[in-house]
């Protein structure tokens, strides 16, 4: 009781962030395969963060979803979690994408809100590209 306390270690990253950061399954380029390839980009000028989301869409399904990020661990984890959640889902499900949900799951500090919002920009950019292509086709 009078020893040096080890409790309440102020942890900058929660376990989820650490796991997603350490072994991101969806980082990298989209490999060639069936379906059309799309890309959404965004960046945060303040911290120099850059986000690229790349998808292969096949029959209205996000068959492959990959990210590339230059940025902090929270942003990398958020991008990985987004890919994890939406890969294999219908494109339109991407409209459910929620930053506040991500921030909570990953315990992102509020001062990083602006940065995580850029991930939303990248998702929107990706959706827009997919939409445009669909419109062009129709």
């Amino acid at each position: 009781m009078t020893g040096v306390a080890r409790s309440a270690l102020p942890e900058p990253y929660n376990q989820r962030v650490r796991a997603l950061f350490e072994e991101p399954q969806h980082a990298g380029e989209v490999v060639n395969g069936p379906g059309r390839r799309f890309e959404g980009r965004a960046s945060e000028s303040a911290a120099g963060a850059q986000i690229v989301l790349a998808a292969v869409v096949s029959d209205g399904i996000l068959a492959v979803l990959r990210f590339r990020v230059f940025g902090c661990p929270h942003l990398i984890a958020a991008a990985e979690l987004t890919c994890e959640r939406f890969e294999g889902e219908p494109v339109k499900k991407l409209q459910d994408f929620s930053v506040s949900d991500l921030m909570e799951t990953l315990g992102v500090p509020v001062e990083k809100t602006g940065r995580i919002l850029r991930l939303e920009d990248a998702v929107r950019a990706l959706l827009l590209q997919i939409d445009r292509t669909a419109t062009n086709k129709d």
Binding site: T2, V4, A5, R6, S7, L9, P10, P12
Partner: protein, 393 residues
């Protein structure tokens, strides 16, 4: 009068410094583990975060002792620094509102000299005298506070006499006049109840080594109230809310936290113990002719007993009292042989002040120590009077 104890000092100078509690020493030493266990608390890596967590715990422990929110406490190097930061810092912080300050003549030098420094900066300082019992009359303070007054600094327990000021009433008065109230609680924290949730105190100084923590670490409480803050005296790395920078001294802070916890747990028992010792010692010496106590017997912390003996010279008395480790005047003043300014403020003559002996004691002091001290004091006084010319003093 060669004492049989000649080689075994008996320490009765707790008001100067106390022995570190073995549990505090153990907790402090535990911080000297592997480097990767405890780093610089400002570092973001695991070793830094561990240090930070230990410091947070210590702040909670100190918060518990004082019934204060941990975030309102900042670590310093001791009460000297806390006093300086509180007084100079608050005066500068509020200088735009007014430049009049109030304190008392019997404060510790760290307080008095902080005010001296402020005077050189153009502040005006009123120094109130206490009564002959050492207690400040509330009416005197009331009369001294003006429209421009920004800060009142009145200590809780006096380090030489043990006299206790009514900081609840003083604080209430200050609050009613929108004046900040600082109290130097170096001699009371960890010994008398100090409940900052209930007391109208804005700034409170304390130091760990007066309640069995390590030397060289203290704290300043700064109430979270509008208009209550301090301009920092030191500038740098941003630690302690930018009010007191420098690498946090992990082991020191951990030690102060544990000392606070122990003091909190044992407060009532320790107070009972020193009260019993006090009565015993006073009963042993009060019937020696010409012996008087300095300071109030009522508004008083029991761990200090200050007495003068007529017709006895102070320096010789100190030597005759060996092997007792006691103080003549404040420990901080013993490098000079000046008669104590605190006792003179209580109306003592130079000779009375010079013959004053401060006995101070704590949980480690035994009844045997106290009985020996009383007996030894009596024979030392008797001996020196026998040597002195009949007319002396």
């Amino acid at each position: 009068m060669k004492s049989t104890h000649a080689n075994a000092p008996i320490y009765l100078d707790d008001a100067a410094t106390t022995r570190i509690d073995p549990q505090v020493a153990a907790a402090l030493s535990a911080c000297f583990a592997a480097r990767a266990d405890y780093g610089n608390a400002a570092s973001s890596h695991i070793a830094g975060r561990r240090a930070q967590a230990a410091i947070d715990t210590a702040r909670q422990q100190l918060g518990l002792l004082l019934n204060a929110r941990p975030q309102d406490l900042i670590w310093t190097s001791g009460a000297t620094e806390s006093d300086n930061l509180a007084i100079i810092g608050a005066a500068r912080f509020r200088a735009h509102r007014g430049r009049h300050l109030v304190t008392m003549t019997t404060e510790h030098k760290a307080v008095l000299e902080s005010f001296d420094a402020l005077e050189k900066e153009g502040f005006e300082v009123s120094r109130l005298s206490p009564g002959a019992d050492g207690v400040l009359a509330l009416s005197a303070l009331e009369a001294a506070i003006r429209e421009e007054t920004q800060l009142v600094s009145i200590m809780h327990v006096n380090n030489e006499t043990g006299v206790v000021q009514d900081i609840a009433a003083i604080g209430a008065l200050c609050r009613s006049r929108d004046v900040l109230f600082h109290t130097d609680a170096a001699q009371s924290a960890g010994k008398l109840p100090v409940d900052l949730a209930a007391l109208p105190v804005d700034l409170l100084s304390l130091t760990a080594h007066k309640f069995r923590g390590p030397q060289g670490v203290g704290a300043l409480y700064i109430a979270d109230r509008p208009g209550c803050s301090v301009a920092p005296l030191l500038h740098g790395g941003g630690q302690e809310r930018r009010l007191r920078p420098g690498t946090s001294a992990l082991h020191q802070i951990v030690g102060m936290g544990v000392a606070a916890k122990l003091a909190h747990d044992r407060l009532a028992a320790n107070l009972r113990h020193v009260t019993a010792l006090h009565e015993r010692l006073w009963n042993a010496v009060k019937r020696i002719p010409g012996v008087t106590r300095n300071g109030s017997a009522d508004a008083h912390y029991a761990g200090i007993l200050n007495i003068s003996a007529a017709g006895v010279e102070g320096e010789s008395l100190m030597l005759a009292l060996e092997p007792l480790c006691v103080a003549s005047g404040s420990a901080c003043n013993t490098q000079s042989r000046e008669p104590s300014f605190v006792l003179k403020a209580l109306g003592c003559t130079d000779l009375e002040a010079q013959s004053a002996i401060r006995f101070s004691f704590g949980p480690e002091t035994s009844l045997g120590d106290i009985d020996f001290a009383g007996e030894h004091y009596r024979s030392a006084v008797t001996k020196l009077r026998a040597i002195a010319p009949a007319a002396a003093a």
